[in-house]
């Protein structure tokens, strides 16, 4: 199979792991391949989309279905365009162009929010998960409203039976229920203790479809919270999967939740309220796939981080944690997770401006970097746009100790400033994460991710 052979070739090329290119070859050779293969996994297909958390949620959902005895067929490492999904199939097909283990499989695909309307009728997912909708790479996706409108139109046209899994707390997502043909499973947070005392700046869906401004009884992040419209009466519904009590730590979270009424507690190694939402989304998707609550809870507690998403590395006497942040809402949540404790922070922040990062770096001004001020942060800035990032941080009152464009030199400088026994937190945009992860893996003696998966 040509698509498969090219995977081995391009993976040797390094950056990005080449996880999308075999699919590109297959898409060119057999454009209908995916449509033919989409219906073959015996347990159907689930899609995961949204601005933030696609990779982690898909990763967690894969851990749950594995625990339930189902083999996940996934597109790895954030390779979430059409090509990445096709690659997931072409990696598995036999010489006859069939999936040999189809009967025991479920397709779990993270799908780029702009690509979903094209892929949805072709993949015909049995479960479609919608995480959140934040402003992200306006130079690439256009404006937030048009993404939400595209999803609504897509759902109203849908011709196959499916269950929607929706974030009850994000009004732009929750209101997709109005376009649903079938069952809807929702997830959300019901714990005022993790609510913000003031609104983040990076909030998007502040206005209802009727035109009125939403009222919030609690805001958890951005425009995500317990919302209602006093004008037309639209309001958040009580979620099917609900976090009743959340304890956030710099190194993880304890989540007491109910899954369709069944209480379970998950101790997750993933830090930050944004990770809690990914845990809830994976639980809700697994519930929609018919998996029981106790299997869900034990699998979530055992699941480690996904590629580049809070992965940890040990380098001599020090540790490093890699945190992906590629838009204002994501960066706000990473900062919030870092500042959950009182300990001084050693931070390497990296800003690239490639197509996958967003060529427009303006977004750093929408993030509340000011939250790091006065928190004892020692900061090194790096990446293609290290100077832009250094300026943003300096304006926020967090003056970097060092600005070094080069990844390897910046990492070494940041590690040298990290006290023995302490942790370096690395915040990076997508391609910066790929670069620094390779540099970290070399120093820690960890294999590249696609080797680790094999």
């Amino acid at each position: 199979m040509l698509g498969r052979a090219s995977g081995a070739v391009v993976r040797r090329l390094g950056r990005g792991g080449g996880t999308a290119l075999p699919g590109l070859v297959a898409a060119t050779i057999a454009p209908r391949l995916m449509e033919r293969l989409a219906s073959t996994p015996g347990h159907g297909v689930a899609t995961v989309t949204g601005t933030n958390g696609k990779t982690t949620t898909t990763h967690l959902l894969a851990a749950i279905v594995r625990a339930a005895g189902i083999e996940p067929l996934t597109n790895p490492s954030g390779s979430n365009l059409e090509r990445g999904v096709i690659a997931a199939y072409t990696e598995q097909v036999d010489a006859m162009g069939r999936l040999p283990d189809a009967a025991s499989q479920v397709g779990l695909f993270e799908v780029d929010e702009a690509v979903l309307p094209w892929l949805f009728p072709r993949l015909r997912p049995r479960v479609a998960v919608f995480l959140n909708l934040f402003r992200d790479q306006l130079d690439r996706y256009g404006e937030v409203d048009s993404v939400a409108d595209g999803w609504g139109a897509m759902l109203r046209r849908a011709a196959h039976a499916h269950t929607l899994v929706l974030n009850a707390d994000d009004p732009a997502i929750a209101l997709l229920a109005e376009s649903a043909h079938g069952p809807v499973v929702t997830f959300g947070v019901d714990d005022d203790a993790v609510a913000l005392t003031h609104a983040d700046h990076a909030s998007d869906a502040r206005f209802c479809v009727c035109g009125a401004r939403f009222v919030y009884d609690a805001i958890y992040m951005g425009h995500v919270g317990r919302w209602r419209c006093t004008f037309c009466g639209r309001a958040r519904v009580a979620p099917t999967v609900s976090a009743r009590h959340v304890e956030l730590r710099t190194d993880g979270a304890t989540i007491e939740m109910t899954i369709a009424g069944a209480p379970v507690t998950v101790v997750s190694p993933l830090a930050g309220l944004y990770s809690v939402y990914n845990v809830l989304a994976a639980a809700a998707a697994a519930h929609a796939l018919g998996i029981d609550a106790s299997t869900i809870a034990s699998a979530l507690a055992a699941a480690g981080p996904a590629f580049g998403r809070q992965e940890r590395f040990t380098i001599g006497e020090r540790s490093a944690r890699l945190l992906l942040a590629k838009n204002p809402a994501g960066l706000n949540e990473v900062i919030r997770a870092l500042t959950a404790g009182d300990a001084p922070l050693m931070v390497l922040a990296m800003l690239n401006d490639g197509v996958q990062d967003g060529q427009d770096v303006s977004w750093i001004y929408d993030a509340d970097v000011e939250a790091l001020a006065g928190r004892g942060v020692t900061l090194v800035c790096s990446g293609d746009r290290a100077d832009d990032l250094a300026l943003r941080c300096a304006l926020a009152g967090v003056v970097p100790v060092s600005v070094i464009d080069d990844t390897e030199r910046a990492l070494d400088a940041a590690l040298a400033r990290t006290p023995s026994g302490a942790r370096l937190d690395i915040i990076a945009t997508y391609t910066a994460m790929i670069d620094v992860r390779a540099a970290l893996a070399r120093r820690a003696g960890v294999g590249a991710y696609w080797e680790a998966r094999a």
């Binding site: 306006l138 130079d139 060529q359 300026l391 304006l395």
Partner: protein, 281 residues
């Protein structure tokens, strides 16, 4: 003699011997027109003014709020079409006050969607015409489906004395054309500018500036930031206002230089000199 820095609405004392200087800033619709990180302009303004020892009193004016009696500097950012529709009618109603302020040399910075609505009208992609505040003699038309947005890094030579070379990022569907009463803010070297045709970027009327550049604009263009602070001080203090002695801006200059390189590398170079082609087509 200084007012309480934790309470920016405390009235400042009149300036005397360089101490106690202050400017009054009106931030228009910053909770609605905030899609392209234009809040960075206010962040940079506050930080730079603090370096000069100038107090900044900010009044946020949103939907339904009255304008204050006076202002030295008006800021407005960009928004999505839906957000522009939300504020256009009300903003147009504020036109007479804003135009009088512009005649009185109040400094203004209107970015992207805010620039469009500071013009005469904005016709969106559905053909609906939104009225503008009329500060600038410009008109904007969103050409509709099939026409690409103007997206990318911009390098432009400012026509504001001392503001120098400008860097920014543009992302707009609307094409803006200057009328006879408008001067361009800058001449595009790399990027699209107002319409991708005539080489102009933004508009300028007295101390009011309209532009498509975000990025955010003021953090990375410290000479323009200093110009706006100086203009606001002149409005506040009158003709005897002592000029600013520019302070170094180390991080800003480095970010500016990096953005210049990026724009030269990534954005198309504008070949034709813009000459006299400023008129509405």
């Amino acid at each position: 003699m200084n007012s309480d820095p934790r309470n920016p609405s405390t009235p400042a004392l009149p300036h005397e011997g360089g101490g106690g200087r202050s400017i009054r800033v009106v931030s228009l619709y910053d909770d609605v027109m905030n899609v392209y990180a234009d809040r960075g302009n206010l962040i940079a303004l506050r930080a730079r003014a603090a370096e000069y020892g100038i107090e900044v009193e900010v009044t946020s004016v949103s939907v339904g709020d009255p304008l204050p009696a006076e202002a030295d500097l008006v800021l407005i950012g960009g928004g999505q079409d839906r957000e522009q529709r939300r504020i256009a009618q009300e903003l147009a109603g504020r036109g007479p006050v804003l135009r009088a302020w512009a005649e009185d040399d109040v400094a203004m910075l209107a970015i992207c969607g805010g620039f469009q609505l500071f013009g005469r009208f904005y016709r969106d992609s559905s053909g609906e015409e939104l009225p503008g505040a009329g500060v600038f003699d410009v008109t904007t038309v969103a050409p509709g489906p099939g026409w690409p947005r103007c997206i990318g890094d911009v390098l432009a030579a400012s026509l504001v004395p001392g503001a120098g070379e400008l860097v920014g990022f543009e992302n707009h569907a609307g094409r803006t054309y200057l009328g006879a009463g408008a001067q361009p803010f800058a001449i595009v070297e790399h990027g699209f500018g107002n319409n991708g045709e005539d080489g102009t970027e933004g508009a300028r009327y007295r101390e009011a500036i309209g532009t498509y550049l975000h990025g955010s604009l003021l953090p990375k263009n410290p000479a323009l930031l200093d110009h706006l602070i100086g203009a606001a001080l002149r409005h506040r203090e009158g003709d005897d206002s002592a000029p600013l002695v520019p302070l170094p801006a180390v991080f800003a200059e480095r970010a500016h230089a990096a953005a210049v390189q990026v724009a030269r590398r990534r954005s198309r170079r504008v070949q034709a000199a813009p000459g006299s082609a400023y008129a509405t087509p």
